[in-house]
C-alpha cells in the first residue's frame, strides 16, 4: 500500500481525548503532522501506545468482500443486502466507536428488526 503524503506541517492539539480505556482522559496534548502522532503528552503507557500506533497510512484495503478487495460502495451494498435478507440480524460491539455511530446502530437495529448489544453483556 502507498503512503498518502500530506503537508508535513506540525500541529499541536490541546485537550485531546484518549479513548483507550474507560478513564477517557481529555487532557492529552498531541503533536501531529496529520499522518501520525509524534508525541502524546500526559498520556499513560497505554495511551501513548494507542496514539502512536495509528497512522494515516493506507495499511488495509478500503473493504474486503468474500476474501477479495472491494470498493467501499460495493461493500456497503453487500452489507445492506445481507442485513436486509436476514431474519434475525445481530449488531454487536459498539465499544471502540463514537456515540454518533452507536446511535446510528440502534436506528439500524430498529430498521431491520434485529438485536443490538454491546460488550457490557459479556
Amino acid at each position: 500500500m502507498t503512503n498518502t503524503p500530506k503537508s508535513p506541517e506540525l500541529r499541536v492539539i490541546d485537550h485531546a481525548t484518549c479513548t483507550f480505556c474507560g478513564c477517557v482522559c481529555d487532557d492529552i496534548k498531541l503533536h501531529t503532522d496529520g499522518n501520525r502522532v509524534h508525541k502524546a503528552e500526559r498520556a499513560c503507557v497505554l495511551g501513548k501506545a494507542w496514539f502512536l500506533n495509528h497512522t494515516a497510512e493506507r495499511a488495509y484495503p478500503d473493504a474486503i468482500v468474500d476474501g477479495r478487495e472491494a470498493s467501499l460502495d460495493e461493500a456497503i451494498e453487500v452489507a445492506a443486502e445481507l442485513l436486509y435478507q436476514a431474519d434475525m440480524p445481530l449488531i454487536y460491539g459498539l465499544s471502540n466507536t463514537t456515540c454518533e455511530a452507536q446511535r446510528e446502530c440502534v436506528a439500524l437495529a430498529d430498521a431491520i428488526s434485529g438485536i443490538v448489544d454491546s460488550h457490557t453483556s459479556l
Binding site: 500541529r11 481525548t17 474507560g22 478513564c23 477517557v24 482522559c25 481529555d26 498531541l30 501531529t32 496529520g34 499513560c44 503507557v45 495511551g47 494507542w50 496514539f51 495509528h54 497512522t55 494515516a56 495499511a59 488495509y60 478500503d62 474486503i64 468474500d66 467501499l72 461493500a75 456497503i76 452489507a79 445492506a80 445481507l82 442485513l83 436476514a86 434475525m88 440480524p89 445481530l90 449488531i91 454487536y92 460491539g93 459498539l94 465499544s95 471502540n96 466507536t97 463514537t98 456515540c99 454518533e100 455511530a101 452507536q102 446511535r103 446502530c105 440502534v106 439500524l108 430498521a111 431491520i112 428488526s113 438485536i115 448489544d117 454491546s118 460488550h119 457490557t120 453483556s121 459479556l122
Partner: protein, 322 residues
C-alpha cells in the same frame, strides 16, 4: 446500570476520603485513575491529598495495585458475593457465623476494621472491575455491591462505580438507554425494544445459533468470545467495521476499514462516570468513520421495500402519523 448510587469522578477527586477498588487492577489497566481522580489528588476538602485518603484493595491475588493500597484484602476466588453479603450484615450489626467468614478466606478482625473505617468515612466510593462483574455470580455481584453502597448511606455518604474498560463502552450503555430504554441486549424483533440478558445477549445468541447475520463494529469477538460462539460466527454472514483487519474480519464476508475513533474520527465518547467528552482527532485518515458507514448502510436498507410485519395497532399508529 441506570439507578445506581454513584457520582462523577470530579466528586471523587474532591471529596472521597475512603476508596475501595474491588476486583480490578487500576495500576496496570487504568494507569491514571490514581493520580487524576482518586488517591493522589489534593482538594479543598482533602488538602493533604494521599494522606487524607484511605485506599482498600479487594482482589483474589496480589497485583501491582497492592503497592498503592493501605489495606489489601485477599478474598478466596469466587467468594466476592459472600464477602459483600457478610459486609451487608455486619454494617447492620447482624450476627455473622465464623464459618461464613472462614469460607471467604479472611479474618473477622479484618472485616470489623473495614466496616468501622467505612462508617467513619465522610465520603466512601467503591470502584468495581471485571474481577467482580465477570466471575462467578456476574451481574449479581455488581448488584450486591451497589446495594451495599446504597445501604451504607444509612451511616455516611457512599457510592459505587464500575471501572469500565474498552474506550466508549459506557457510551454504548448510555446511548442504548436513551434510544431504547435499556442498556444492552435489546431486541427489535417485535418492532419495539425488549430487554432480556441471557436471551438477547450476544454470546447466548451465538452459542444457541439464534442469529443468521452478524454486524460487528468496535469489537473483535473472533478473538475474545468462547469457541462455540466463534463457530456460529463462521457459519453465518458477518460484516465487520474496524480500523484494522481483525480476527473477526478474517472469518467475515464483508470487512470495511474505518477511521479509528478519537484518533482520526471525530465524535463523542463517555467516561466511566457517564460524562460525555468530545473527541479531537489528530490524523487525517483515508478511511470513512464508523458513523458514516453505518449511516450509508442504513440508508441503502431504507431504499429497499419494508418487509416488517406489524401489529394492526402499530399500523394504525403509523397511518395516523402520516
Amino acid at each position: 446500570m441506570g439507578g445506581k448510587v454513584t457520582c462523577t469522578l470530579g466528586e471523587v477527586k474532591n471529596r472521597a476520603d475512603f476508596i475501595v477498588y474491588w476486583g480490578g487492577n487500576p495500576a496496570e489497566c487504568h494507569p491514571r485513575h490514581f493520580t487524576k481522580y482518586t488517591i493522589m489528588q489534593k482538594s479543598r476538602f482533602l488538602p493533604r491529598g494521599r494522606k487524607d485518603r484511605t485506599m482498600v484493595l479487594v482482589d483474589i491475588r496480589e497485583t501491582k495495585s497492592v503497592k498503592a493500597a493501605d489495606i489489601f484484602l485477599q478474598v478466596r476466588p469466587g467468594k466476592d458475593f459472600e464477602l459483600i453479603t457478610v459486609l451487608r450484615a455486619m454494617i447492620k450489626d447482624q450476627p455473622v457465623d465464623d464459618s461464613a467468614i472462614a469460607e471467604i478466606g479472611l479474618q473477622r478482625s479484618d472485616l470489623e476494621d473495614l466496616v468501622a473505617r467505612m462508617k467513619r468515612a465522610k465520603f466512601g466510593v467503591m470502584f468495581f472491575g471485571m474481577g467482580l462483574s465477570m466471575t462467578r455470580g456476574k451481574h449479581m455481584n455488581s448488584a450486591a455491591l451497589l446495594t451495599l453502597a446504597a445501604e451504607m448511606n444509612a451511616f455516611t455518604k457512599f457510592v459505587a462505580m464500575p471501572m469500565r474498560g474498552h474506550g466508549n463502552v459506557t457510551g454504548a450503555d448510555v446511548v442504548m438507554r436513551w434510544q431504547t430504554g435499556y442498556p444492552f441486549g435489546v431486541s427489535y424483533h417485535r418492532g419495539y425494544p425488549r430487554y432480556n440478558p441471557g436471551e438477547f445477549s450476544t454470546v447466548d445468541v451465538l452459542v444457541r445459533g439464534d442469529t443468521d447475520c452478524v454486524f460487528v463494529l468496535g469489537a473483535d469477538p473472533g478473538a475474545t468470545m468462547p469457541q462455540p460462539a466463534i463457530e456460529h460466527l463462521k457459519r453465518v454472514p458477518t460484516i465487520v467495521l474496524d480500523p484494522h483487519v481483525t480476527h473477526t474480519s478474517r472469518l467475515a464476508n464483508v470487512h470495511i476499514t474505518t477511521a479509528p475513533a478519537g484518533i482520526a474520527a471525530a465524535g463523542t465518547a463517555y467516561r466511566m462516570d457517564e460524562i460525555a467528552l468530545p473527541l479531537r482527532p489528530a490524523i487525517d485518515s483515508p478511511y470513512p468513520s464508523d458513523f458514516e458507514v453505518v449511516r450509508r448502510i442504513h440508508e441503502a436498507i431504507r431504499q429497499k421495500p419494508d418487509w416488517r410485519v406489524r401489529s394492526p395497532w402499530i399500523e394504525r399508529q403509523l397511518d395516523a402519523a402520516h
